[in-house]
C-alpha cells in the first residue's frame, strides 16, 4: 500500500491537528500531582559521584522535592556525606545545607558549623535574603532538633524583626532591600516566611511588629489576581508568576501556622492550588522544587486544604463497561472522601441535559448505561468539602464519549455515456469490505453510495468523509463525499480526472476514508479494484512523477547568490598607471619652468600681500577640505565647511583681484 502514502499522511496530520484542537479547547487541565509527575520529578534529579545533585543549591532542591513527594532515594548516605563535607561559607550556603539535610532526615546533627553561620547571618544580615536564609535555616534546624536550647536569644529575634519590618511597603508587599523600591510578591513570600521562622524560634506573637505584619498580609492577599478559570495568582507582571504565587502561599501559610490563626490567604487556597497545578512543569528543578514545596505546605495545612476534582478517564468507550469515576484529592494526590453530585451533564450541541442531580456513590456513576450519543459532554460536578477542606464548586469537567460507526449499503455504479448503468453491490461487514472488481473507460461515470450508521443505530455524519482514487504507481486524488442524514453519494466523471492521473491506464483502487474524533474505528478501506482504460496522453502533457516521495521531501536548499567581487588588476599595474597619470603634472612643471614663470606679480607688501596670502590659503583650505571629504566626511559636513571657507576666500579674492586690476589701470 505505497499508493498515495503522501495524501494519507496529510490526512492523518489533519485529523491529529483536529483532535489536538479539541483537546486544547478545554483549557488548562487541573490534575493533582500523580504518579507520572512523581516519576518525572524524581528522574529530574540525578545523584552525582560526590553525592550531590550537581551543587549545593541543586541538592537542596532535590531534597525538598523528595520530602514533599515522600519518595526518598534508596540510599542517601552518599548525599549525607556530601552535606557533612560542605564547608561553612555564607548564610545562603548554610540555608541550603541545613534545608537539604533536614529534608532528607539526616540522622545526626553535624550542622553546628552551618548553624553558627546561619545565626550570624540572622544577627548581622542587612538584606531580606540574608535575614530570610538565616531565620529559616535556624527554624529548620530547631525543628530537626539540632539547635541547642536558647541558642538564639530574644534580643537577636527582636532586632531581626525590626530589620524585617523595614522591608514592608505601604501596599503590604515586601521589597528585597531597604530602599524606596516597590515590593514584589516573591520578596513578600520570603519576608512572611522569615517572620514565621522567627516566631518558631521563640519570638513572642504579641510583639507589635508581628501584629503589624499580620495586618499587612490582608493587603498583600488582596493584590492577588484572578482569572476566569477561578485561578488565583500573584505578580504576573514581574518575574515568574509561578514562583511568586508559590512563595506567597508558602510564606503566608507558614505565618498562619506559626501564629495558629487563619490568615486571609486561606480563603484563596483553592484558587492558588488550581493555578499552581495548571501551570506545573517538571522541566526546571527550581520551578519544580518551589511548586512541590508550596503544594506540600498547602496540602498539609491545618486550616483549610483545597481539594482537586479529577476524572479517572476523560473519555469513555461505548464498547466498554467503563464508569464515570470522579476522584477528589489534595493537590499532592492524597485521596479525600467527599460526596460528589453530578449536577448536570450536557452534550455539546444538544438541547437538553442528559443527566441532572445524580449522586455519585463512591465517586462512580454508570454514565454509559443509557447508551448516550457520542460526543463531548460538559459535566458540572458539585463537591461537598468535608471539614477543614475547601473546593472550587461547582467544577466543570469535559468528558468524551466514543463509539464505533458502521458503513452499510455500499453500492458502486458505472454509467457509460449512453446512460446505461451497471450496479455493483459491495458486501460489507463491520470493518472489512469485499472489494468489487470493475472495468471502466474515460467516458464512464463512477458513482458510490453508502450509509453511515452511528453507535446508537441512527444515521451518523462523520467529520471526514473522503473517496480516494489511486493508481498503482502511487498517483492519487482525493474527493470529499457529500451526504445528508447519513446517506452519502459520490460521483466522478473519469474523463475529468485524466489529467490528475497523468493519463495512466491500468489497475486503480477506489478507497473510502472515514474519520471522526468521537469514532474509535476510523476507516480507510478499498471498496473497488478498477481497471481503467484512459486514452493516451496528449503531446506535451507532463509525465507522471518518478518519485512520489518528492511530495514530502524537503525542498532544495536555497543557495544565496552574492555578487561576485569585480576583478581587480594586479597592484603593480595600478601603481604604474598612478605614476603615469602624474607624469603630465611633472611635464606641466617643466613646461612652466621652460616658459620662465616667475612670482614677480605676487604682491610684496601692504594689505595686498595679506589678502593675497589669505586668498591662496583659502583656496588651499578648500582643496584640503575636498581631500578630507574624499577620506571621511559626508556631503552635508563639507557643504557647511565650504560655505565658511568660500565666504573667506571670496572676500580676500575680491580684494586682491580688484587691487591688481586697479594697479594695472594706474600703470596703463
Amino acid at each position: 500500500m505505497m499508493a498515495g502514502a503522501s495524501q494519507s499522511k496529510r490526512l492523518l496530520v489533519a485529523c491529529l491537528l483536529l483532535s489536538l484542537g479539541l483537546a486544547s479547547a478545554a483549557g488548562p487541565t487541573v490534575e493533582p500531582i500523580g504518579a507520572s509527575d512523581r516519576s518525572a520529578a524524581v528522574s529530574l534529579f540525578k545523584v552525582q559521584d560526590d553525592g550531590s545533585y550537581g551543587g549545593l543549591k541543586e541538592t537542596y532542591e532535590a531534597a525538598k522535592v523528595f520530602a514533599a513527594l515522600d519518595s526518598f532515594p534508596a540510599d542517601p548516605s552518599k548525599t549525607f556525606a556530601y552535606l557533612k563535607g560542605v564547608k561553612p561559607g555564607d548564610v545562603e550556603a548554610a540555608f541550603y545545607a541545613i534545608g537539604a539535610a533536614a529534608a532528607l532526615k539526616h540522622p545526626e546533627a553535624q550542622m553546628s558549623g552551618q548553624i553558627l553561620v546561619a545565626s550570624e547571618g540572622l544577627s548581622k544580615g542587612t538584606t531580606l535574603d540574608e535575614l530570610y536564609h538565616g531565620a529559616v535555616a535556624l527554624a529548620t534546624a530547631k525543628k530537626a532538633g539540632w539547635l541547642k536550647k536558647n541558642s538564639v536569644d530574644k534580643k537577636t529575634l527582636q532586632a531581626a524583626l525590626k530589620k524585617l519590618q523595614a522591608f514592608v511597603t505601604e501596599d503590604g508587599s515586601w521589597r528585597s532591600v531597604d530602599d524606596d523600591s516597590d515590593g514584589t510578591a516573591l520578596a513578600s513570600g520570603k519576608g512572611l516566611e522569615a517572620v514565621a521562622a522567627l516566631i518558631e524560634l521563640g519570638l513572642s506573637t504579641s510583639e507589635a511588629g508581628v501584629q503589624e505584619i499580620k495586618g499587612s498580609v490582608e493587603k498583600l492577599v488582596g493584590s492577588a489576581e484572578a482569572s476566569d478559570d477561578s485561578f488565583v495568582f500573584f505578580d504576573a507582571s514581574s518575574g515568574s508568576p509561578l514562583l511568586s504565587t508559590a512563595a506567597v502561599a508558602k510564606g503566608a501559610l507558614s505565618l498562619s501556622a506559626a501564629l495558629g490563626e487563619s490568615l486571609p490567604i486561606v480563603e484563596k487556597l483553592p484558587g492558588v492550588a488550581q493555578y499552581l497545578l495548571a501551570s506545573k512543569s517538571t522541566s526546571s528543578p527550581v520551578l519544580l522544587s518551589e511548586l512541590v514545596d508550596a503544594l506540600s505546605i498547602i496540602s498539609t495545612n491545618s486550616f483549610s486544604v483545597p481539594l482537586v476534582v479529577s476524572l479517572a478517564k476523560t473519555s469513555l468507550s461505548l464498547k466498554s463497561n467503563d464508569k464515570l469515576e470522579v476522584s477528589v484529592s489534595t493537590p499532592l494526590g492524597a485521596p479525600v472522601a467527599a460526596p460528589v453530585t453530578l449536577k448536570r451533564a450536557k452534550r455539546a450541541g444538544a438541547e437538553n441535559a442528559l443527566f441532572t442531580n445524580e449522586n455519585l456513590e463512591g465517586g462512580a456513576f454508570d454514565f454509559l448505561a443509557s447508551k448516550p450519543a457520542v460526543g463531548k459532554y460538559t459535566l458540572v460536578l458539585e463537591v461537598e468539602a468535608p471539614e477543614r477542606h475547601a473546593v472550587v464548586s461547582p467544577v466543570k469537567k469535559e468528558l468524551r464519549v466514543l463509539g464505533s460507526a458502521t458503513v452499510s449499503d455500499v453500492m458502486l455504479t458505472v454509467e457509460d455515456d449512453g446512460g446505461a448503468k451497471k450496479e455493483h453491490k459491495v458486501p460489507a461487514s463491520k470493518d472489512s469490505f469485499r472489494a468489487a472488481k470493475v472495468s471502466a473507460t474515460h467516458s464512464d461515470k463512477l458513482g458510490l453510495q453508502f450509509k453511515v450508521i452511528g453507535p446508537d443505530g441512527a444515521a451518523f455524519a462523520p467529520q471526514q468523509t473522503f473517496v480516494r482514487l489511486a493508481h498503482k504507481s502511487g498517483v492519487d486524488a482525493l474527493f470529499p463525499a457529500k451526504g445528508a442524514g447519513g446517506a452519502y453519494s459520490f460521483e466522478l466523471g473519469l474523463g475529468e480526472v485524466r489529467d490528475k492521473m497523468y493519463h495512466q491506464s491500468g489497475a486503480y483502487t477506489l478507497e473510502l476514508i472515514l474519520g471522526d474524533p468521537f469514532i474509535e474505528n476510523s476507516l480507510h478501506t478499498v471498496v473497488a479494484n478498477l481497471d481503467l482504460k484512459l486514452p493516451p496522453a496528449p503531446e506535451g502533457a507532463p509525465p507522471p512523477p518518478a518519485d512520489l516521495s518528492e511530495d514530502v521531501a524537503p525542498p532544495a536548499e536555497i543557495a544565496h547568490i552574492f555578487r561576485e567581487p569585480d576583478k581587480r588588476p594586479p597592484t603593480a599595474v595600478s601603481t604604474l598607471f598612478t605614476a603615469l597619470s602624474l607624469v603630465p603634472f611633472v611635464g606641466l612643471l617643466i613646461g612652466f619652468a621652460a616658459l620662465g614663470v616667475s612670482f614677480k606679480g605676487f604682491p610684496s607688501s601692504g594689505p595686498a600681500l595679506i589678502s593675497a596670502v589669505m586668498f591662496h590659503t583659502g583656496l588651499a583650505a578648500i582643496a584640503g577640505l575636498y581631500v578630507v571629504f574624499w577620506l571621511k566626511l559626508n556631503l552635508f559636513q563639507v557643504l557647511g565647511a565650504l560655505a565658511v571657507l568660500s565666504v573667506f576666500t571670496a572676500f580676500s579674492g575680491h580684494f586682491i583681484l580688484s587691487s591688481l586690476a586697479d594697479s594695472k589701470v594706474k600703470t596703463a
Partner: protein, 114 residues
C-alpha cells in the same frame, strides 16, 4: 623629395614662429590645457587596457580632467586680448570665475570618486 613631409615641416615652422608671438600668459594656459588632456588620455588608456572597475572613480577622474581643460579653454578665451568679444571682461574677473567654476566642478568630482 619635397613632398608632404616638406609641407608639414613648413606648417610646423610657421606655427612655431607664429605661436612664439603668443603672450606668455596664454602659453601657460595652453600648457595647462595640454596637461589636463594628457592626464585624461592616460586614464582612458587605463580603461581600455585594464578595465572600467571602479567605474565611478574612472568617471570622476576622467571628467575632472576634461572639465578642467574645458574651463581652462574658457579662461583662455576671456583672457585673450585679441578676442574682441570679451574685451570688457578684465582678466582678474575671468580668473575669479575660473576659480569658482573649478571649486564647484571638483566638489562634484570628489563626491563622485567614491
Amino acid at each position: 623629395m619635397a613632398g608632404p613631409l616638406h609641407d608639414l615641416k613648413a606648417v610646423i615652422g610657421t606655427f612655431s614662429t607664429e605661436y612664439g608671438k603668443t603672450p606668455l600668459r596664454l602659453k601657460l594656459i595652453d600648457l595647462y590645457i595640454l596637461y589636463a588632456l594628457s592626464t585624461a588620455l592616460i586614464q582612458f588608456v587605463y580603461l581600455g587596457l585594464v578595465g572600467s572597475f571602479p567605474f565611478n572613480s574612472f568617471l570622476a577622474g576622467f571628467l575632472s580632467s576634461i572639465g578642467t581643460a574645458v574651463l581652462a579653454v574658457c579662461l583662455r578665451m576671456q583672457v585673450n586680448k585679441d578676442n574682441k568679444e570679451f574685451k570688457d571682461v578684465p582678466p582678474e574677473r575671468a580668473f575669479a570665475d575660473w576659480v569658482v567654476a573649478n571649486i564647484v566642478l571638483h566638489l562634484v568630482v570628489v563626491n563622485y570618486i567614491g
